[in-house]
């Protein structure tokens, strides 16, 4: 039995917005795998909840008229991984969310929840950053879209305006982002399942037609800073460069100019930094292979 003050169950997106305006102090709950854990721990004990669990209109993956890949915020990790659109265009996202917790958590957890909790270790977050996803937010005044980078304000806080009754309704990957692009994700954790990332590294690459030049490389980390982050210096270094192991080595070292992991009991800054360099290299090598490049 949860120590819950009240439960408001939304029946539609509009209803969810109305409930949010009516109960601004209430916490939104989607899959429950974070919120209920915190309620059990006592952190959110005694709070009211607005459940959006039943809003099936927010589930599923489609390609919209602008050729964006549109992932409804309530789509579970399992459904993302098994979705044919994801598998065809952005398989790395399916692979990344397939490393969240264990199978039952992946059946329950949603990509919306994974991003709205504002946690740097979220397995989807680094890949969404690396693919420059857009976040669709719906409120009383309609829909707005913002880059995922702007969605994260600080650790644990995202750009959802309670006074606007806003909820996140979808994540979009623009065509320009996924076209001819291949990526790889390394979840570095202490065990091979049921774990949170010590460091998450997501890299994707688009190579020139002859496969010899890095046309566009993007890299993002989780747990390398308070929120998921891109490594822009490393990207600036590698873009336009020849596809060589030496360049990839340098790319790896460059990420140290970008990241800012902290010392905590979960891992030291030095350790996370070391793993970031190694993971960046390995992810890029893997991305090159997937993109048909040779090393």
């Amino acid at each position: 039995m949860y120590d819950m003050l009240a439960l408001y169950e939304a029946t539609s997106v509009a209803d969810a917005i109305a409930l949010r305006l009516e109960h601004p102090e209430a916490q939104i709950i989607a899959g429950g795998t974070d919120v209920l854990v915190q309620m059990r721990e006592g952190k959110r004990a005694g709070k009211a909840l607005i459940s959006i669990q039943k809003l099936d209109e927010m589930r599923g993956v489609t390609i919209d008229e602008e050729e964006n890949i549109r992932i409804g915020s309530l789509t579970s990790f399992t459904h993302i991984t098994s979705d044919p659109i994801i598998q065809k265009y952005i398989n790395v996202l399916g692979e990344a969310v397939d490393m969240v917790g264990g199978p039952q958590i992946r059946n329950a957890g949603t990509i919306g929840g994974n991003t709205c909790n504002g946690v740097t270790s979220a397995d989807s977050a680094s890949t969404l950053h690396a693919w420059e996803a857009m976040v669709e937010i719906t409120g009383k005044n309609g829909v707005r879209r913002i880059p995922i980078r702007d969605f994260y304000i600080k650790a644990g806080q995202v750009d959802l305006k309670v006074e606007e009754g806003e909820i996140q309704t979808a994540i979009l990957i623009p065509k320009a982002s996924y076209d001819r692009t291949y990526g790889h994700y390394i979840k570095y954790a202490m065990r091979n399942a049921m774990d949170i990332a010590t460091l998450g590294t997501s890299v994707n690459a688009r190579l020139s037609a002859d496969g010899k030049t890095f046309e566009r490389v993007r890299i993002a980390f989780g747990v390398a800073g308070p929120v998921p982050m891109r490594a822009t210096n490393a990207e600036a270094f590698i873009n336009g460069k020849e596809v060589t192991l030496a360049n990839i080595e340098e790319f790896g070292r460059k990420v140290l100019e970008d990241i800012n992991p902290r010392d905590s009991w979960r891992a030291s800054k030095a350790f996370r930094s070391h793993i970031a360099v190694e993971s960046a290299k390995r992810c890029l090598i893997e991305s090159v292979k997937l993109a048909g490049g040779e090393l």
Binding site: M1, M4, L7, G32, T33, L36, V37, R40, I105, A108
Partner: protein
């Protein structure tokens, strides 16, 4: 102080449509154990880390501790009790858990078997690595997972007609 809040939930549990007035604060674990006496649903952590409370909801596995009872509305739920036939007949996976010595203290067993059911119902032949990943949402302290893995793998192969060697040693 807010008055307690209740909701009528209608759902199917182990093939039978049921109705129950539940406290909105209840987890599905609470409802299944307390209102329906389905005590195969075990509590090992109540925060989704151990898998002991795992049940099937519309064919997919969920840790019922992290699932509100009111969300069960309209759902089809199966617990381990639902696998046993009317005269106590065991399903193949239950029998395999017994035959392969995959059971010790028995506390993780119900959750593991329900995940095995989800896996086996797909009718797919998984590699050993895939199978391990599919079973990875459960913790067990007695068996080292060895015989659990064996029981699930053998049942998978048996269902696919590929278990030639009855003494298959994985």
């Amino acid at each position: 102080m807010a008055k307690n809040q209740y909701k009528l939930v209608t759902c199917t549990i182990n093939g039978r449509e049921v109705e129950k007035m539940v406290d909105v604060r209840a987890s599905l674990t609470d409802m299944l154990r307390n209102d329906f006496s389905l005590t195969s649903v075990k509590k090992g952590c109540e925060v989704g880390e151990c898998g002991a409370c795992n049940v099937l909801i519309d064919g997919e596995c969920f840790n019922s501790c992290l699932y509100l009872a009111v969300w069960a509305e309209g759902k089809n739920i199966t617990t381990l009790e639902g696998l046993t036939g009317p005269n106590g007949e065991l399903s193949d996976i239950q029998q395999a858990f017994i035959d392969e010595t995959a059971i010790q203290c028995g506390f993780c067993t119900p959750g593991f078997i329900m995940t095995a059911v989800e896996i086996l119902n797909r009718g797919v032949e998984y590699s050993d690595d895939e199978l391990r990943k599919l079973l990875s949402g459960h913790l067990c302290r007695c068996t080292g997972y060895e015989n659990i893995f064996k029981a699930v793998k053998k049942t998978m192969l048996r269902r696919l007609g590929k278990l030639d060697d009855p003494y298959l040693n994985t």
